[in-house]
Symmetry: C2
Subunit: 330 residues, 2 copies
C-alpha cells in the first residue's frame, strides 16, 4: 500500500484551478471556520483591521509576486522590487492607512543570480524610502531551479479605516486617476495612492473605499451593497490614454478596457448621498491639483436591467467582469 | 540587443546558492540599508519587536514551508498544515510572546488537489484553535504545476520580550526538552513552547532566549556574547531517544546528533549568573512537571580551545555547526 499523499493530481475535476479564486477563497474560509474572523477583523477587505486601543488601529495586508506570473524577463529586477512594495502599499492606501513595517519572504531557486537579486532589492529599498516603510524581518526559502517568488506582509496604522462594506444606496461613486490599459506600462509605474487614501479617510463624507486591482467592472460590484445597482455616467469614466492605445491593438472599445482591465491601482470610493459634492471636489482639487477625481455615478436600488446601468438611458452596461488571477494564469 | 533581464544564471559563481544563508542575509541587510532597522526592531532575532506603547509590544515573524523542501509526500497534508503554524509559533515562543493574528499566503501550482488543500487547512485550523490564533488575511498566488509553498506571517504580543542578544559572561545555559533526531518524527509532532516561553519572559533571572531550529551547535553561538565561549557539561545534554536511534543509523554519536540536528523547536536560554538556580529549577518543576529543563553549562570568557569547551576537562567540543537551510537544500 502506498501511504504517500501527493499534493498534486492529474484529474482536472479535482484540481483547484477549476474553481476560480472566489470559490477557492470561500472554501478556505469554510475550512478555517471560527479561526478566521469576519471582515474587517479578518478576510474580505483590502487589509485586516486590528484594534489596538480606542484611537488607533493596525491594518495588515499581504501580497506576493512570482516570476512567470506577475512579471517576466522584460521587466527589470528594480521594477519587480518596486512593484512588490507598491502592490501592498496600494492595499494600505485603500484603507486610508499610513505604512509602518513589513516582513519580506523570498522563495527562490538556487540558480537565482546575485546581481539580479541585488537590483531587486534596490527597487524594494527605493520604494520603502519613498514611503518611509521599514522592512523588519523576513524569511528565505528555496524553490526548484528557475523559480522566484517574493511575498510581503505589510502593517499600517490608521484612526478610521475606510472599509469596502459601508456603502449605501444613494451614495456617489468616485475614482481617482484614469483607468484601463495598465498592461502597457502603468502596472509597473503606478504610484500607490497613500496620501489620497489618508485624505479620503479623514473626510466624514467618505463611506467606503477600495483599490482597483481587478478592474472597475469586477471591483465595483464588491463595493455595492446588497440589492443595489450602479447608475453610471459613461461620459465621466476617466479612460486612460493607454486604454485607447490598447483598444487599437485588441479591437475592443477603450471604455471596455477602462472597465475590465486589471491593475489600475486607483481608488474607488462611495461618498454619502447627502454630501456637498461640489465642495468635496473643490477641496480635493486644492489638495491634489494634479490628480483627476471623477464622479462616475451613483448607487441606486437594484435595477431590473442589471448591476451596471447607463445613467441617462437605463440601458444595461455589459462590462461586469474583470481580471481573475487564479483562472487566467493557470 | 536583448533587453531582457533573466533572474537565473547557469554560472555557479553568480548563483545565490554558493553563498550560504548567513552571507546572503548579510547582503540583503546591506542592500536594504536604513530601510531595515537593527534587531530587535528589525532583522536578527526570532521576531521583530514593535513598541506600541510603554507596556505592550508586538512581535512579528514569518516562515514558509515548501513541498519538496520542508516536506514531501510521506507527510500528510494535515501534518504540513500544523507544521506551518507551529514553526511560526515557536518563533513567538522564543520571545515569550502570546499569539494574536496571522496572514497566510498560498503559492501553488494549478494542479494542486482540492482534497489535499482541505486536509492541509484542517491542520492549520487545528493548530490555530489549540493556540487561540486567528488567521486574519492572506493571498493566493500561482506557481508552475507541481509546486506548493505556504508562508505565514504571525503577530504576537508581549510585555518584555526575551531577546537573543542580552546574554552575559557568567550566565547559566538551559534548554527545555530533549535534543536531536528530530528528523525521525518530532519535526512534525513538536509542541511550540509558548507557555514555557511566556513563563521564562516573566522571570527576572532570564536574560536571553531563542528557539533551537538549526541545532544547538549552531544556535548556541548566536546566543553567546562577543569574546565568550560556552563551558558545557556534556553529561547534562538532554539527548532525545530519537538521537540515539538516528545515531545507530548514521554511525555517529547520539551526542553529535543532539548538537547538530535541526528542528528541535526547544528553547535555549541564558539565566543570570547570580540567579538562584536551585530555586529557578524548583519553580520550573512546579509549573511544568512534565517537561525537562536542563542546565547544560555556563557562558565563560573566550577560551583558547574554542567556542564550546568541556566543563570538566577544558577540552574543545567539535560540534560547532548545525543545519543551514540554504546550502543543504540546494
Amino acid at each position: 500500500m502506498d501511504s504517500k499523499t501527493y499534493p498534486f493530481t492529474h484529474d482536472p475535476a479535482q484540481q483547484i484551478s477549476g474553481l476560480g479564486e472566489c470559490i477557492l477563497l470561500e472554501h478556505i474560509c469554510n475550512w478555517l471556520g471560527d479561526t478566521t474572523p469576519i471582515a474587517p477583523a479578518g478576510i474580505g477587505d483590502d487589509c485586516a483591521v486590528m484594534e489596538l486601543d480606542a484611537t488607533q488601529k493596525t491594518c495588515i495586508t499581504t501580497d506576493a509576486i512570482s516570476y512567470g506570473q506577475h512579471f517576466d524577463a522584460t521587466v527589470t529586477p528594480f521594477e519587480a522590487g518596486v512593484k512588490l512594495i507598491h502592490r501592498n502599499l496600494s492595499d494600505l492606501a485603500a484603507m486610508g492607512a499610513q505604512p509602518q513595517s513589513a516582513v519580506l519572504t523570498l522563495l527562490s531557486g538556487p540558480d537565482l543570480a546575485l546581481a539580479w537579486l541585488k537590483a531587486f532589492f534596490k527597487g524594494v529599498r527605493s520604494a520603502c524610502v519613498a514611503h518611509t516603510l521599514k522592512i523588519v524581518g523576513g524569511d528565505l526559502s528555496t524553490l526548484p531551479a528557475g523559480q522566484f517568488s517574493a511575498s510581503l506582509t505589510l502593517l499600517g496604522s490608521c484612526k478610521r479605516p475606510l472599509l469596502r462594506q459601508n456603502a449605501s444606496i444613494g451614495d456617489w461613486l468616485y475614482t481617482t486617476g484614469t483607468l484601463g490599459g495598465s498592461i502597457l506600462g502603468k502596472h509597473f509605474r503606478f504610484d500607490p495612492r497613500l496620501a489620497e487614501g489618508q485624505w479620503f479617510a479623514a473626510q466624514d463624507a467618505c463611506r467606503a473605499m477600495m483599490d482597483l486591482t481587478d478592474g472597475l467592472g469586477k471591483d465595483l460590484q464588491v463595493l455595492l451593497p446588497n440589492d443595489s445597482s450602479a447608475a453610471i455616467d459613461l461620459n465621466s469614466i476617466p479612460i486612460d490614454e493607454a486604454a485607447q492605445a490598447f483598444g487599437l491593438q485588441t479591437g475592443k472599445p477603450a471604455l471596455q478596457h477602462a472597465f475590465c482591465d486589471g491593475e489600475d491601482y486607483e481608488l474607488l470610493l462611495a461618498v454619502a448621498a447627502d454630501a456637498d459634492c461640489g465642495r468635496f471636489e473643490t477641496c480635493w482639487q486644492a489638495e491634489f491639483p494634479n490628480l483627476r477625481l471623477s464622479r462616475i455615478g451613483q448607487i441606486i436600488s437594484k435595477h431590473p436591467a442589471g448591476v451596471f446601468i447607463e445613467k441617462e438611458s437605463g440601458a444595461s452596461i455589459p462590462w461586469t467582469y474583470g481580471y481573475e488571477h487564479w483562472k487566467r494564469d493557470v
